[in-house]
C-alpha cells in the first residue's frame, strides 16, 4: 500500500505501508520505531504557529513534531526507540534566494529544537541546497529513499 503525503499532512503507518512526499522549502520529517515497525511522516510548511489553533496538524513545525510523536506513541511506539530523519529546506530559484531562504532554514531549526526537547536523535538529514527532493519511507524496514530530478551541481 502507498500513500502520498500532501503539504501540512501527518501520516503514521505500520508495515507494509510506503509513504512518500515531495519537498522543496518545506521539511519532510520522518520518524521510525524499528521495534514495532511504525513509521511517521509530516510535511511541514512553516516554523511557528503563533496561536493559529485551526491550522492543519502538520502545518507548523512547533505543533507538527508534537503531534507526530503523540500519534506514534498512541500507536504503541516509545520515545526512546524513535529515530528521526529530516529532509528539505531547500532554497529554490537561486536569484530570488532572499525571498525563499529564511523559511526553509527556520523550518529546519524549529524541527531540530522540537526533536531535541523529546530527546529524539536525528540519524540522517538531507537539508538545504537548491533542489527539491522526493522522499519515500518504507514502513516495513524504516528505509528512507531520497531522490532528486537532477543531480546536485
Amino acid at each position: 500500500m502507498e500513500r502520498f503525503i500532501k503539504m501540512n499532512e501527518i501520516v503514521v503507518a505500520k508495515s507494509p505501508y510506503l509513504i512518500r512526499t515531495v519537498v522543496g522549502s518545506c521539511i519532510a520529517l520522518c520518524i521510525w520505531d524499528g521495534c514495532c515497525r511504525i513509521g511517521g511522516m509530516g510535511h511541514i510548511m512553516l516554523p511557528e504557529s503563533n496561536g493559529d489553533s485551526e491550522a492543519p496538524p502538520g502545518k507548523y513545525a512547533d505543533i507538527a513534531v508534537k503531534k507526530l510523536v503523540s500519534i506514534m506513541v498512541d500507536e504503541g511506539s516509545l520515545l526512546k526507540r524513535m529515530q528521526a530523519t529530516c529532509i528539505g529546506g531547500a532554497s529554490m530559484f537561486q536569484n530570488h534566494q532572499n525571498a525563499f531562504e529564511s523559511i526553509g532554514s527556520k523550518n529546519y531549526r524549529t524541527v531540530k529544537e522540537e526533536l531535541k526537547n523529546f530527546g529524539i536523535p536525528i540519524v540522517t538529514e538531507a537539508v538545504g541546497g537548491i533542489l527539491g527532493r522526493r522522499v519515500e519511507m518504507n514502513c516495513a524496514n524504516g528505509a528512507i529513499t531520497i531522490s532528486m530530478l537532477l543531480k546536485p551541481g
Binding site: 500532501k6 503539504m7 515531495v22 522526493r134 530530478l149
Partner: protein, 210 residues
Amino acid sequence: MTVVKEKKVSSKSEQIKLEKSLTHLFVVSFNQAANAFSQLLMREMVISRYSIEMMTGEQFINQLENKMEDGYFASIIKLQNDVDTTILFLLPEEEGKRLYNILNDKELKAEFPSIEDLSDSIGELNNILGSNFTNCLANTLNHTIHNSVPANTLDLLGAILESVVLQREFVNKSIFCAEADISDKKCSTFTVKLIILSDKTQLMGILSQS
C-alpha cells in the same frame, strides 16, 4: 518613482466592480501573451483554458496534486515595489524539450543542450509573456511597474509550487490565482501554464485608486 498607496475597498458594489476590472485585466494580459507567443513561434497559440480564483496557497498546490512528482520547467518573475505579484510559467519536462526544438528550429533529438540552456530558453519565454502582464497592469494603473529577471529551474512540481507559495508575500494570505493554459492550436505539441499569483487585498486596493 511615485508610490501608489492602497485604499480600503468599501462597498460591496465597489468590490464587484474591482473584481470585474481585475478579471478583465487578467484575460486581456493572457490574450496578449498568447499573441506574443504565436508571433515568437510562428504558429497559432491559443488559450485552451483559463481560470481566475481566490484561494490559499495550500488550495493552489492541492489542485495539481497528482502531478507533484513530475518534472517541470519553471520560471518565475516577481513584480517589485507596489504590487506583490509573482508570474509563474510551468511546462512539463518533455514538452519543454519539444518547445526548445521549436524555438531553435531543430528536429527532435535524443541529446539536448544543458539543462541551464533549456531553462534559460524557457525563462526567456516567461520574460516575454510576463512583460505583457506587467505592461497591461501598468497601463491599467497608469503607473510604472518594474519586474525582476526570471528565475529558472527544472525540478519536481511539488517542490516548485511549495517554494512559490512559501514566499513572504503569500504565506497565510488570500491570493488571486489567474491561470491560463496556452496551447498549440493545430497539435498538442505542448501546453504551457501561465499563472499569476497576487496579493488580493493589495491588488484590489491599488486598482481602486486607478
